[in-house]
């Protein structure tokens, strides 16, 4: 079941947080409400870490990660890097990269297996994505928009994309990503999906303007109906249910 929340009156919670299957990052806000909402849902399962990136609160827009690793822009300070390395589990590789498109979260959408990247991404970054995050990288636009990270929210079970994505594009992306995809909105009609929500395999958080309809679409496509627990063995089923073309 997805949770609705706000960061200091803003419903763009995807800007201020990053959620994966192994950890969660949140921005440091004026009140503790934001952090507490994540903690309440996740504390027993994965670490929730408060941080800034490059001195800013836009941790969601600037970083990209999954259970295997976390990539940070060159603007990240040494202290922030060290803090993250200390706070995250050992199996998560934290790396700062030199990439001119420094808003990594806006440029790259990923889950634990595949990533959709901005078409102008550096070759080195693509290789780092494959190495550190262990994903297959596809340079793709979403609804004609190069900022694939902004217009697509992805988990291992499903994905939500920009509302104007055509049926052909949806099919193509779904084949690439090997997950069911739905075109929809979040935060009462906002098209910037990843700015408005964060999701992992068992839970999601959306901005508080998200309507009940949008929430039910999210619950459906990401299969969050509450009757599954983390590590449900979905990964095992996945191989037999979905073909992969190598």
């Amino acid at each position: 079941m997805a949770t609705r929340l706000q960061f200091e009156n803003s419903c763009e919670i995807g800007a201020f947080s990053k959620l994966t299957n192994a950890y969660c990052l949140t921005a440091i806000g004026g009140s503790e409400n934001f952090y507490s909402a994540f903690e309440a849902e996740l504390a027993d399962v994965i670490p929730v870490v408060k941080t800034s990136i490059g001195g800013t609160r836009l941790v969601g827009f600037l970083s990209v990660g999954n259970k295997n690793g976390l990539l940070l822009p060159h603007t990240t300070t040494d202290q922030e890097l060290q803090h993250l390395r200390n706070s995250l589990p050992d199996q998560v590789v934290v790396q700062r990269i030199e990439e001119k498109l420094s808003a990594l979260g806006n440029c790259i959408a990923c889950n634990d297996h595949v990533a959709l990247a901005h078409t102008d991404l550096d070759k080195e970054t693509e290789e780092l994505l494959a190495d550190v995050l262990g994903v297959e990288v596809f340079r793709q636009t979403v609804a004609g928009n190069v900022l694939s990270g902004s217009y697509c929210a992805l988990s291992n079970r499903g994905g939500l994309v920009h509302p104007h994505t055509s049926i052909e594009d949806l099919d193509e992306l779904s084949t690439l990503l090997q997950v069911p995809l739905v075109a929809g909105t979040v935060n009462r009609g906002s098209e910037a999906i990843a700015a408005g929500m964060v999701v992992n395999d068992w839970t999601a958080f959306c901005g508080s303007d998200t309507t009940a309809t949008e929430l039910s679409v999210i619950d459906n496509v990401f299969m969050l109906r509450g009757d599954t627990r983390p590590g449900d063995g979905f990964d095992g089923m996945r191989k037999s249910l979905l073909d992969s073309y190598k």
């Binding site: 706000q6 009156n9 004026g30 303007d209």
Partner: protein, 322 residues
Amino acid sequence: MPRRPRRHQRFKSWPITFSPFGRALARMGSISMPKRRSESIENNTPSSASNGFIKHPLDEKPEGSESSDGEFDGVVQADFAFFDPKPNDFHGVKTLLQTYLDVEEWDLSGFVDLILEQTTVGTVVKVEDDEDEGVFALVTALNLWRYREQRCIIKLKDFLLVKASQEKGIADQLRLLLGEQAHNVGLLVSQRVVNLPPQLLPPLYDSLFNEVSWATEDEPTEDLRNSFRFKHYVILSKIYKHKNAEQKRKLSDDSVEEIVYVKPEDEIFHKLSLWSFCFPLRTQQPAPHELKNYRAMGLIMAVEADKIPSFRQELGSLINET
């Protein structure tokens, strides 16, 4: 009763950042354009008709106007139009009201919904035919009694009272206005993008106060009609106060202003106000270079409704001077 036609203004470019359209404007320079002679008055699109209030934007569609993308001839033309608030304006209006209560966490979405539902009184300024439907300005008046049970209004009243608690004497007057006298008190909300051309202000305020007086006659029920018979307006706004206000008075240096008003009409409201006070703001916003000696403060004031005609007159002359 003759309806005053909406006026439509076209302006040179300026930095506005609330929409991709605005950002395109910001990237372009500005050059003077000779005024167009032809004007055509178009009868209105279905986007704004309610209770018999039709808005007539005067369209000035220059022929062959648009500069193509990438060409930097520096001329951008925009036709502003005044509209009734619509549910579609939600995101634009919410952006404008983001810092209305400083950093307070409150039901901002509920407040925006309230404003958008009140179509009889309230105006939203947008660009004609803009696909993004970016909202450049908003003005409305909300009766504090009519909406007294809304969560957002309760929080807003608490916010005002907390800020007033330091001011002896004013706190009691404010409490009266928000409580017993709330039947006739309107919260005047006016927010806009920073560089909105000031020539739009007189028609904008005219439209607000005209709608208020039309509403006292045209609303379907007696209660609603009475709810617009405002005797007082409460205004929450932002100003910049000189950091060395005390020193300033001693030196009586006239070249430096003690208070810089972000919105020009606030100066007139402040002068005509029944009472007013300032409070420090907690939002950290980098001040523009010219304002580095100033601190941003919130300003709360009450203005009697019978001062409004002189306000409208002074606003007209203030804008015409500049």
